[in-house]
Symmetry: C2
Subunit: 214 residues, 2 copies
Amino acid sequence: MRDAYHDSLDAITDELVSMSRLVATMMHRASVALLEADREKAEAVIESDVEIDSINQEVELAATELIALQQPVATDLRMVLASMRISTTLERMGDLAQHVAKTARMRYPDSAVPSNVAEQFREMATVADRMGAKMAEVLGSKDLELAREIEADDDRMDALHRQVLDILLSQEPGPVNQAVDVTLLNRYYERYADHVVSVARRVIYLVIGERSRT
Amino acid sequence: MRDAYHDSLDAITDELVSMSRLVATMMHRASVALLEADREKAEAVIESDVEIDSINQEVELAATELIALQQPVATDLRMVLASMRISTTLERMGDLAQHVAKTARMRYPDSAVPSNVAEQFREMATVADRMGAKMAEVLGSKDLELAREIEADDDRMDALHRQVLDILLSQEPGPVNQAVDVTLLNRYYERYADHVVSVARRVIYLVIGERSRT
């Protein structure tokens, strides 16, 4: 029974790893769509959101079945429940990538990012890519050191978020749609990074919980 | 064993009902804080967010214990898992109420809502109150008709959200901080309503799932 449990949990973990890679790719493409006003990439992101939603439903189903059939307790149960939560978080991250892509598409052929904050958004995109790659790696390897690095990346994202807001608030009144776009985009990147942190923290909590038991 | 399960599940449902009432009160106070520039109410909302976070953790713990000890399957298991998800959603709604309150506090003694969209925000606040009250009622009573009304309320919220955006985009460039505030507040109310819909849908899905089983 323990083996069947671990096989099923491994299958769920594999799904989470591929889901997280897909989400990271979506956000990367959304950023390219945004920064280079690339409409095809924007469309690709918007289309792949259904894929994320469907993997999320599969994970929910697989985790529910695993609990019903294997009746795990203690750390084993916490692991399955954490997988469900991580899947929900990844689904939200996919939504955020989609929001970024939709904003890019709406302004096409212009860029939704005005030049006075372009540098900050380019770095936010880089930080989001880095965080997404680390998250996928952490989900597979349970590497605690890497999981902890994610907090530092998030600090950088928060600093950039603040910078964009400061630039926005200090500028002369300009086109309102630009202010609206920048405000929302700024929030999407910040929320995306917050979600990566929450995934990393769940992994850290589980690994440490499991260790302290053995 | 079945009775122990139902007792525990009832206790969790009671927690969800009081949590949802607290969230609805927070959002109501946040709206008053926003529309009447009432700093005390804003502070009260910001303080009560820790309470929501702690109830959420209690629900998570109680649900995990319930699964470990009673090992429910099928609909019983889906009910417990749904309670955990609803609790997470309520926690997010508390965060949104807190964001509204923080925006109100930041602009105090001014109002963060400019007069040209005040009417829309007043109605958004009313719709949010109505939706919050219905959600608490639905969680306790599992009243499907009421749960379905929530979709219509959400349509109204979406229409108001759109109106605010239209007004914002059609106005002459003005103070950028106002555009930023209105953009984010508009999003907070819309997201809050989306969360109410997701709670209502979970309840509908569970009640119909249970019925189709009997």
